[in-house]
Amino acid sequence: MKVHRLKIMRIVLSLFFLIITSLLFLDYRRIIPDSWFHVILSLQFVPSLLKFSTLLSLSAFGFLVVLILSFLFGRIYCSTICPLGIMQDVTAWLSRKMRSKKNRRYHHAKAHNILRYSILGITVAALLFGSTWLLLLLDPYSNYGRIMTYFLKPVVVGLNNVLASLLQKKDIYTLYPVSIPAVKAAVYAVPGAILVLTLWMSATKGRLYCNTVCPVGAFLGLISKVSLFRFRINKTACTSCRLCEFSCKSACIDLKNMTVDNSRCVTCFDCLDSCNFGAISYTVRRPAASVKEPELVPVTPAGKKKDFDASKRAFLLGTVAFLAGAARISSAKEYPKNARPTTIPEEKEFPVTPPGSISIQHFTDHCTACSLCIDACPSDVLQPAFLQYGLAGMMQPVMDYHAGYCNYDCVRCTEVCPTGAILPLEPEAKKLVQMGLAVFVKESCVVFTDETNCGACAEHCPTKAVHMVPYKDDLVIPETTDDICIGCGACEHACPTEPFKAIYVNGKNIQSVAKKPKTEKLENPLEDTEDFPF
């Protein structure tokens, strides 16, 4: 059975994009090199657009490519590049496989113009007034990223953890367990709602989500109305068999009026494939009146029930693995707390944003909360915010020093961010970016309350902005030097007091440059001798 060339191309390309994009989020072992992220995500429309708005350089040209592609060929982005769109194609395909042949059909429907253009209009208007909130909520790439991070990745990691613990019993350590950080339930709300909505809509109505809710779809649809290549029906050749309409997941082929609504068409080429008479074409101009030889080829392949069962099994297995993995992680027994719980709360004036994010304003304005940096961070310090940035900033990453601390030599988040919310930094420059300042609360410190040595904070401090100074007898107590502090949070993370830390990092509204740590020459007592002092 012959499948249309363009459809094959679309399927191959779309699966390629879906898989590589998903891997970026699911790469829990962080194997993918930093430099690949930009290449892979360069064509994601909203991130590229936001990045361009910051850098004003053509290095963020991806959105332009998408625009040009749309003017030439229609919504190629929606069919082959947008991961949320392709995910829906997969669901739609699976759900059609499960149905009888007759129920598999799509039918033409009216466009929900008021809804889709209102959402687009409000999103754009909000953007013009400086709010990226709706974009954050509705950008399909970012939504897909969140679905990966908060729903699929825990399953993958859970499976890994089960396998790792089985292998571990045989002294094989090639797999290792990975912790699944606890995230506030509210963070799951948006990606969860989008996941349910897209799954349901795509399983029942194909690309309905993309043509009602998605602002990127609506916007690219406007361009597609005037694209060079468009789908047209040859009225003379058409037998009104409606096979094209039945195959159209955008419900945009109206055979009564022999029209195709190109604004809703996601250029999947399924209609070309469905037509036995070559009556629907994807051409630059209106097709000539001459009728092609009808090609009598059978239509879409019949679905097999088996495929669905396999996916159901995989889903069940994944869920079980996730639960088992989660159970293993959360089985941690509580340890005795400090004898005297600390009572002075950490008073953080500002949350800490990632290095290279310029300011809280810049960061929150450009971040669409795709959560890629959260997945890429090797220290687990980047966590989705709850209300640290206000309600509109929920899910945007924040430096959570209870979860981890910023690794001194690491610039991974700055390398992977596709929107320019976190700008690329050279490692040497990153070591001087002051994200916040350490604040020491003497009254909470173990050295003060228990009169025993601790020094965990100074131990972890990479610049010695936190260092120990003589206190009483043999005791030493922390002291901070602001100008060399970069606010990496190592001190706060290491501090053992509970529930409140005796040293914490107060974020900076606008990031600045710290001084370089001092380096003085050192004398070695034993360097010149070869003797043993015993």
Binding site: I329, K333, D450, N453, G455, K464, L526, P533
Partner: protein, 306 residues
């Protein structure tokens, strides 16, 4: 492996060995006359880390004294920080590699290396060079990153530390080799062999908030102690420890101390560093608890200059 099994197995191994020894030492390593005069401690200066270890372990009676055929060896270096070897925050990778090789030469079945790191563990393992060097020598690098690897044990003689979650490999191993790097530590003054064992337990914060020095001594008194201690003092971080800020904190001391007694090893290393061992509280406490001796004059020390 359960603790009882462990005792049974070690006891069995011991019986077997004494049987072999009584037969006149069929194995070349057993037959070596140096065995009788093996030093309690070997101190070496002036060589590369691997060369110094070759000399030191020979003086200690060869690796065969500690590792028997078919045994599972766990090496615990310091891999705490995401910094390169010349910063001396982690144990010298060349030394770790050489120890792994010696273990295999002595007939070890498996050699496993791990640390519960401070910085992100995958980065520490890589940047320290230890992952690469251990693999080159045929050893296994094992993660210490998840609580699941750690098992709760009772610390019988502990004054502050009554129990701890200890990495399962540390509890299962036939032979444990503690390979710390000698360096400055801002709150405990120095970190050497005993302090390095903080990397085999899960909750270090508990130690920090419950009298760190006492906890270090308490864990040193845990019944399962390292069978061999190798103190890396090739490059030594003299200040800003334990992480260090730059290479300017480091001197090239070119020294190494090998011992079976953690307290003695820490005492000798402190002296090398130029610090009075008695001024380091956990060393004093450990001696008081009978973990080992600070009296180096009571030991048969082999001093080697290269």
């Amino acid at each position: 492996m359960k603790r009882r099994d462990f005792f049974l197995r070690t006891a069995g191994a011991g019986l077997g060995l004494s049987a072999v020894a009584s037969l006149g030492g069929l194995h070349p390593l057993m037959a070596r006359p140096a065995m009788a005069a093996a030093a309690d401690m070997a101190a070496v200066r002036g060589g590369e880390p691997n060369v110094m270890f070759d000399r030191a372990i020979a003086a200690m009676g060869g690796m065969g004294r500690f590792v028997k055929k078919g045994q599972k060896v766990v090496i615990k270096p310091n891999i705490g920080w995401d910094v390169p070897p010349d910063r001396a925050a982690n144990t010298n990778p060349l030394l770790v590699k050489r120890i792994v090789e010696h273990c295999f030469n002595a007939g070890a079945k498996e050699v496993l290396v791990f640390d519960n790191t401070c910085d992100a563990w995958t980065k520490c393992y890589r940047t320290s060079g230890i992952e690469k060097y251990v693999r080159e020598a045929g050893g296994k690098v094992v993660p210490g990153n998840t609580e699941g690897y750690y098992q709760e044990v009772e610390i019988k003689n502990g004054k502050k530390l009554k129990s701890a979650k200890v990495h399962e490999l540390y509890l299962e191993a036939d032979v444990i080799i503690d390979v710390p790097v000698l360096k400055n530590h801002e709150s405990t003054k120095l970190t050497i062999a005993m302090k390095n064992l903080m990397g085999v337990v899960w909750d270090r914060r508990y130690w920090h908030r419950n009298d760190l020095n006492q906890c270090i001594a308490d864990f040193a008194g845990f019944h399962r102690r390292p069978d061999l201690v190798v103190v890396d003092a090739y490059n030594v971080m003299m200040r800003h420890g334990p992480r260090g800020v730059s290479k300017s904190d480091v001197v090239n001391m070119k020294a190494q101390i090998v011992s079976t007694d953690m307290v003695a090893a820490d005492t000798a290393a402190a002296k090398m560093f130029g610090t009075d061992p008695a001024s380091i509280r956990y060393i004093r406490l450990a001696q008081e608890m009978g973990v080992g001796t600070m009296d180096l004059s009571s030991l048969n020390i082999s001093r080697i200059k290269i």
